[in-house]
Amino acid sequence: MKVLCFGVAKDIVGGSEIILNKEAVITVADLKIYLNKSYPEFLKYKNYMVAVNQAYANDHATISSSDEIAIIPPVSGG
């Protein structure tokens, strides 16, 4: 399962995407638990969001490896 990274997330994981060792369908909440465990620095930025197929997704949303998944740290455009 590929996850796109932007902003501070890119710095935390050390790249613009990560490949997670998960192929089964999981929820956004599961993804966050996995990320926080794999990259404990995410715990400093707890208010990040996850986008699924280019739209904000809530914790209950399910995701699979066929979705476009992205970590969205607090935005700061404009």
Binding site: G7, K44, A51, P73, P74, V75, S76, G77, G78
Partner: protein, 144 residues
């Protein structure tokens, strides 16, 4: 939303933004009021000296979110047209990071729609700003 598309101009650009381009897009003979908000890079932020900014965008999603804002603004404020351009990459002092232009029959709608659009853009659009100071840099809103 499809009907609005010819009245909506959304762009994310790696080079200098043009006020004139946004103005020309929204100008039309039905409208008496055009409002432009221009976000520029300032040297001082909370007492710290900024040398430049760097903007990164999740381009495909950012364009979708900007289109949502544009459609909502047209709907809520009865706009004729709206143009939203956002810069990416390195942006120097006094350069333009974002332009929002709105046109409507009457001035109040154009001004209020522009304020709504910039407020919502800053809240929802997946674009990130790294601030470079004399002594270091950090992602705005993600400072440890």
């Amino acid at each position: 939303m499809a009907d609005n598309n010819k009245n909506i101009d959304i762009q994310i650009l790696p080079g200098a933004l043009s006020i004139d381009d946004c103005y020309k897009f929204v100008l039309n003979e039905k409208c008496g009021g055009i409002n432009l908000f221009v976000g520029t890079v300032r040297r001082w932020n909370k007492g710290e000296e900024v040398t430049h900014l760097f903007f990164e965008a999740y381009v495909e999603m950012a364009i979708k979110e900007m289109k949502k804002i544009a459609s909502a603004a047209i709907e809520q404020f009865n706009l004729e047209k709206i143009s939203i351009h956002h810069r990416t990459g390195k942006v120097g002092l006094e350069e333009i990071a974002v332009i929002i232009a709105t046109s409507s029959k009457h001035r109040k709608a154009a001004i209020e729609a522009c304020e709504y659009a910039i407020d919502t853009l800053k809240k929802d659009v997946p674009i990130w700003k790294k601030e470079f100071l004399k002594d270091g840099s950090y992602w705005v809103n993600s400072r440890p």
